[in-house]
Structures are given as structure tokens and as C-alpha cells.
């Protein structure tokens, strides 16, 4: 091997070390796909519940039950659906990412993943409290766009410490959320696009790009064909 080739090899290795020591690269595309599916199911479920709730409310007014009681019921249902979706998405996301880390021989919990989580946490916690304030002031219409905006900010912030593609996903979420603030009445639809469709698209794209997803798929179809 010539001297130049050796230097080139060293440079490639140094580059990889710099990446690996600062970025958490085991983030799995499947985590995104899973989170997207959870969001779509959650949104569909919420749509069903609110439609039933609407009929109930009508019945409540007929029997002169207070409007406030049914509104509280709506908020409890909204928050519990949202929490269930969040927990399911995080648990599945953790599962796929931990699996990928194992396959790559890396640890899930190390300096780079801690840094990533911290970068995500600050905008997310701020956004969470902001949304509680929206609920408190009954500005329910701004809830869905606000979650999108803060989630987008968190992703953009976190993209410094993980796969770069996460940054453009963050920008899309922010754009979606901001436009939702001026178009009232489509909160759930925007939310389903932002957390559902975009997650699935990005997750699938990242799965193909970084996880060798296409190879897996080809192997899988070959195995089934035989």
C-alpha cells in the first residue's frame, strides 16, 4: 500500500471516529415508521371518539346536563389518547433503535444518545408546558399546530447529534404547524400528516438509506419465493 493510500485510509477512519463520537447513528428508520403508525391509529381513534362525543353532547344538551362536564370529558379523552399514542410510539421506537444498536455493536445509552436526548428534551418539555397552558386557557384549536411546531424545533435541535435527515423532517413539522395556526379546524388532519404520514415517509426513507432496508426486503422476498 502506498503512503498516500495509507493516509487516505487514516483520514476516512478519523472522519468516522468524529462522527461516531458526536452523533447517535443507531437511530432506526423503523422507529419512525412505528411512531407514524401509532399516530395514525391515535388520530383515527380520536376522530371516532369525538364523533360519538358530538352525539353525546347533543343528547346532554337535550337532558340539560352542563356543557362544561362534556367539555371536560372531551379533554380527558384527548389527553389520554395522546398519552397512549406517545407511550406506544416511544416504546416501539426504543425497541427498534436498541435492536439496531445491538446489530451495530454499539450501546444505546452512551454519551452521544444522552446528548441527543437532552437536545430533544428542552424544546419538547417547553412545548409540553406551553400546550398545557393552551388547554388551561381553552385554546384547544392551537393545540395540534403547537405540538407540531415544538416537535419540529426539537428535531431540528437534535439533528446536530444524530442522522442529519432528522433536521429537514423538523423543518417540515414546523412549517406544517405554523400554517395550521392560521387555518383553524384542521388540527387533527395536520397532526395526522405531521406525526403520521411524515414519520412513515421519513422512517421508510431512512430505513432504506441507513439500515440496508432494501437488502433486507430483497432477502425476505427471495426467501419467501423459494
Amino acid at each position: 500500500m502506498s503512503n498516500a493510500e495509507q493516509h487516505l485510509e487514516h483520514l476516512a477512519e478519523m472522519r468516522s471516529l468524529m462522527e461516531r463520537s458526536t452523533r447517535f447513528l443507531s437511530l432506526s428508520g423503523l422507529s419512525g415508521v412505528w411512531a407514524g403508525l401509532c399516530a395514525l391509529f391515535g388520530a383515527a381513534y380520536h376522530r371516532m371518539v369525538t364523533e360519538a362525543e358530538y352525539l353525546n353532547q347533543y343528547a346532554d344538551i337535550l337532558v340539560e346536563k352542563s356543557e362544561k362536564a362534556s367539555r371536560d370529558g372531551f379533554e380527558v379523552a384527548l389527553i389520554s389518547t395522546a398519552l397512549t399514542v406517545l407511550i406506544a410510539a416511544l416504546a416501539g421506537g426504543w425497541f427498534f433503535t436498541a435492536r439496531k444498536a445491538r446489530q451495530r455493536g454499539e450501546r444505546v445509552w452512551d454519551a452521544s444518545s444522552r446528548r441527543l436526548l437532552w437536545a430533544l428534551a428542552l424544546p419538547l418539555i417547553t412545548g409540553g408546558i406551553f400546550c398545557l397552558a393552551l388547554l388551561y386557557w381553552r385554546l384547544v384549536g392551537l393545540l395540534a399546530p403547537a405540538t407540531l411546531v415544538f416537535y419540529g424545533l426539537a428535531l431540528f435541535n437534535g439533528s446536530k447529534y444524530t442522522l442529519r435527515d432528522v433536521g429537514s423532517l423538523g423543518l417540515l413539522e414546523i412549517a406544517l404547524g405554523l400554517s395550521g395556526m392560521f387555518v383553524p379546524g384542521y388540527g387533527l388532519e395536520l397532526w395526522a400528516i405531521g406525526f403520521g404520514v411524515l414519520h412513515i415517509l421519513y422512517g421508510a426513507w431512512m430505513y432504506v438509506k441507513y439500515d440496508g432496508g432494501l437488502l433486507d426486503l430483497r432477502r425476505w422476498t427471495c426467501a419467501r419465493g423459494n
Binding site: L8, L17, S21, A111
Partner: protein, 101 residues
């Protein structure tokens, strides 16, 4: 040509030392075990490559206790970062000349 060779720093004349400096140049403080795992080195190996870097004052270390276990963390000094950059510049120059031929 001779000029470039003098810019290539002999302290960095090993891939593991280049590796150590790479990690330290993009991180604030890195503990011994993380370095060991990243570079895929044994205890003795990492220590022996750390010594010349310490001697040249390119890296500094801190020893502290995490719980009961002593932990050593490393960082690149300003001098080390400057020397590393100069070394990389020289390498780049060398490679450009090579491909230019």
C-alpha cells in the same frame, strides 16, 4: 517536499494517536472507557498512545471519582488542537500533490 515533511508531526505518526486526537477535537471531555471502546483498544494500548500526547502537552486529563470508581477524562489542549490542525493541513497538502501528479 521537504518543507511538508517537517510539518507532519511525528507525535501523530500513528493511527491510534490520530484517532485519539480526532475524538478529542470534536468533544469537550471524553472518559477513558469511551475512548477505549471508540478506538477499539486495550487498556495498555490506549495508555501507551496517550503518553506521548500528554508529554507533548497536546492532551490534558482530569481524575475524579464517579461514585467510588476513579474516572479519568481527557481533553485536547489548545496547543494540541493547533498541532493537530497543522498536521491535517500538511496531510491534505501532501495528498493533493500526490493526486496532482
Amino acid at each position: 517536499m521537504k518543507d511538508i515533511i517537517t510539518h507532519l508531526n511525528p507525535v501523530f505518526d500513528h493511527r491510534n494517536r490520530l484517532g485519539i486526537m480526532s475524538v478529542l477535537s470534536v468533544n469537550d471531555w471524553v472518559d477513558y472507557n469511551t475512548l477505549k471502546e471508540l478506538l477499539n483498544l486495550t487498556d495498555g494500548n490506549l495508555a501507551s498512545h496517550m503518553k506521548p500526547l500528554e508529554a507533548a502537552e497536546y492532551v490534558e486529563y482530569r481524575k475524579q471519582f464517579v461514585g467510588r470508581r476513579p474516572q479519568t477524562t481527557y481533553a485536547a489542549t489548545e496547543k494540541g488542537k493547533a498541532a493537530f490542525k497543522e498536521h491535517l493541513d500538511a496531510l491534505e497538502h501532501l495528498l493533493k500533490m500526490n493526486t496532482g501528479k
